[in-house]
């Protein structure tokens, strides 16, 4: 069964090809092909998971792709528990998003294209998690970035969307540069691309520590770009300009998790370099805090969720940086489900209200019961309320953070958990409860079609129960399946769970008081903390900062170079052109006077001589006969030798 798992990524690729080349004109058929392919991938992934569950070792299937003297590049698949989990996450979320999109994208003029992109993305993502070497993973990494670009800018008629696509692509490329250099550094030291070979060499201590640390940090740069960690987090909120299902699939559940997956996959590298690991943890913690604080004040429903995603990814990085592979990937899995649910729920609301601004919504609960209930379930889950899946995964992260000698990471984690529950329920209360703020839009609101609500319900189910595989009292649970070197059975810490629950509930309570009861006026707080509010509302002015220190100088440089081009290079080119013109004028004079003169002169000679010689032909018969006879006479004279 495992041998044929290469089919899993290939089926969506086939669907992509089929849609692009054959069924582009038929949107309905295109969507069916796309959904069918991803469903088949899911169906193939399930037995892979079970097989790995039974025998949790890494199995590798590969073939040589490029064979150079003494150095080969292979293509192949690596299936271990981490891959199996990622396969499930990607295929399930992708499948549900595909189905949801049929409803959400209905009537779009580029329906077929949308589904072909989705299929291509699914292919790339599955290929990424199945890769067995750095070369292959980089290819899929870039392919994922490409599809992300295509889908963010899917409605490219909107300048904002097109700009957001470019921003996402360029920002992640900045990180990818580091990733690429890191790969080269590591590979040049190890002599192979293969993950397992490299990790064995690291564990055997064959690779110098300096190179290891530098390449670890550089590879982490790639993860920073893809997972929208500080300082490359600016692209993700803008990426919300894409269709909402795309946000759910790519920019919440799967692609942005690729960075986390990469760090998890390269865990050996970070385990061997404590300073690099610490950097990962610090960046993760800082990002988690930063994004959560921005999320507190945003008004766009999707942007709040986007900052929430950045924050949660920061959590995962924090866990991984502290060596908690189990905790990080576990949170990756649960987060994928409830964040996909949140986005799809938000999509459902947007579909109904045709706006992203939460202050134009309100009181939607009676009108959109399924959406509202599933959304609240997801919010509870992300807030970490017992016994939903978010509780278990967040608890794992707290446990890892508490294991670090200094309490700073735990404090940050708890603070972020508080903020998370607060902004999530701020969102819930404002959107679904209270009075409708825009009566006109409210009246038109309606529950979304079945094709959209069923994926919501499935995801709600997963948001509740997916975390149960990691309940710490289960000794054959998630922690004994995905682990680094040896299973990490943290003793369940009741006091941590209590703190977590209390913090979450207090966040919810605060949101309830402010936005439901109105007991505390939000405006008053806003006025009281005017400066922090402004800073947060403007996202710490990161965009402005980048614009000032990176984009402006680059544009200035470009202008300078433009002037250089115009002034020097163009001048040189023009001067050369003018010189050529001058040369050709000289040559033209030579041609017209010397060459033409010669030719014309020759013609003139023949013409003149002809005009003289033609007089010989008098047309007078007497003349002719005289000359003929004279000729004959001469012949006779010569013949007889007189």
């Amino acid at each position: 069964m495992l041998e044929s798992s290469w089919l899993i990524p290939l089926l969506p690729l086939l669907a992509f090809g089929t849609i692009v080349f054959f069924t582009n004109r038929n949107p309905r058929l295109s969507s069916y092909i796309s959904i069918g392919a991803v469903c088949a991938s899911f169906a193939l992934s399930v037995p892979v998971l079970f097989e790995v569950l039974q025998n949790p070792v890494a199995s590798e299937f590969k073939f040589t792709w490029i064979d150079l003297k003494g150095f080969t590049i292979q293509m192949g698949i690596l299936i271990d528990p981490l891959t199996a989990v990622m396969l499930m996450v990607v295929t399930i979320v992708s499948m549900l998003v595909h189905i949801y999109s049929v409803g959400y994208m209905a009537g779009d003029p580029r329906f077929s294209r949308y589904f072909s992109f989705l299929s291509l993305f699914t292919f790339a993502m599955l290929g990424l998690v199945l890769s067995n070497n750095f070369f292959e993973i980089f290819i899929f990494w870039e392919l994922v970035g490409l599809t992300s670009y295509l889908l963010i800018g899917f409605w490219f008629e909107k300048k904002v969307a097109a700009d957001a696509g470019k921003k996402a692509f360029i920002t992640t490329r900045t990180g990818d540069l580091g990733f690429l250099v890191g790969i080269f550094l590591l590979v040049s030291a190890a002599g192979t691309f293969n993950f397992q070979h490299i990790f064995h060499q690291i564990e055997a201590g064959h690779i110098p520590a300096g190179i290891l640390t530098i390449s670890a940090i550089l590879i982490f740069a790639g993860a920073v770009g893809k997972s929208a960690q500080f300082p490359l987090h600016v692209w993700l909120p803008d990426a919300m300009e894409g269709p909402t299902p795309v946000s759910a699939l790519i920019h919440a559940a799967t692609m942005v998790a690729a960075g986390v997956y990469l760090v998890a996959r390269a865990m050996s590298v970070y385990a061997a370099s404590s300073s690099a690991a610490l950097i990962v943890a610090i960046i993760g913690a800082f990002t988690a805090f930063l994004a959560a604080s921005i999320g507190l004040v945003q008004n766009d429903i999707k942007r709040v969720l986007a900052y929430s995603t950045i924050s949660q990814l920061g959590y995962m990085m924090l866990a991984l940086g502290l060596g908690g592979l189990t905790a990080g990937t576990f949170h990756l899995m649960t987060h994928a489900y409830f964040k996909a649910l949140l986005f799809l729920g938000a999509g459902s609301v947007i579909h109904a209200m045709h706006t992203n601004d939460i202050w134009e919504m309100g009181g939607l609960f009676p009108k959109m019961r399924i959406t509202a209930i599933t959304f609240i379930i997801a919010s509870l889950s992300i807030s970490g309320i017992f016994p939903l899946s978010g509780f278990w995964s967040k608890d794992e992260i707290f446990a890892v953070a508490s294991g670090y000698p200094h309490p700073i990471f735990l404090i940050v984690a708890v603070l972020v958990a508080f903020m998370t529950s607060f902004y999530m329920f701020r969102l819930c209360f404002v959107t679904f409860f209270g009075k409708p703020r825009d009566q006109h839009k409210f009246e038109h609101a309606h529950e979304s079609p079945r094709v959209m609500t069923i994926p919501l319900m499935i995801l709600a189910f997963l948001s509740i129960f997916a975390g149960w595989v990691g309940i710490p009292w289960l000794h054959k649970g998630y922690s004994s399946f995905v682990f680094f070197h040896h299973p990490h059975h943290a003793e369940p810490k009741i006091w941590l769970m209590l703190i977590s629950t209390v913090v979450a509930l207090s966040g919810i309570g605060l949101a309830y008081l402010i936005y439901y009861k109105g007991a505390i006026s939000a405006d008053k707080i806003k006025r009281k903390f005017a400066f922090p509010y402004k800073v947060l509302f403007n996202k710490y002015y990161f965009d402005e900062l980048y614009s000032a220190i990176i984009i402006k100088p680059i544009i200035g440089l470009a202008n300078l170079l433009f002037k250089f081009d115009l002034g020097i290079i163009d001048w040189l080119v023009n001067a050369f052109g003018n010189f050529c013109v001058f040369l050709s004028e000289v040559k033209e004079w030579f041609d017209s006077h010397i060459v033409d003169g010669g030719v014309n002169g020759l013609g003139w000679i023949f013409k003149k001589s002809g005009s003289y010689l033609r007089k010989i032909q008098t047309g007078d018969l007497s003349n002719y006969i005289l000359i003929i006879f004279f000729g004959i006479l001469l012949i006779i004279i010569f013949k007889i030798g007189l």
Binding site: R614, Q617, T618, G619, D620, L621, S622, N623, I625, L626, F629
Partner: protein, 102 residues
């Protein structure tokens, strides 16, 4: 004593006079007459040779008959052509009928 050379010399003179006529005559009929002179010169030759070289065979005389016949035919056709040219060009001087040049 009149020898063969006398006759041949006469014939040569007559022939040369005829050639001269062809060279200098403008009138087409004049040229035809010059040609008749040359025919006669040829006939004198034939008959003189017949008389002095082969007196018994008369071959030369027979050929002279043929020459006269051909001369008659030639004169007929040539005069017809002259008349045709005259009709076309209203002209009988050959140096005026010089359209075949340049």
């Amino acid at each position: 004593m009149i020898t063969l050379n006398h006759y041949l010399a006469l014939s040569a003179i007559l022939f040369c006079v005829g050639i001269y006529g062809i060279f200098t005559r403008r009138n087409a009929i004049g040229i035809l007459m010059s040609i008749e002179l040359m025919f006669n010169a040829a006939n004198i030759n034939f008959i003189a040779f017949s008389k002095f070289i082969t007196p018994t065979l008369l071959t030369g005389q027979v050929f002279a008959v043929f020459v006269i016949t051909i001369a008659a035919a030639e004169a007929t056709v040539a005069l017809a052509i002259v008349i045709l040219i005259y009709r076309h060009h209203k002209e009988i001087n050959v140096d005026k009928i010089n359209i075949m040049k340049w």
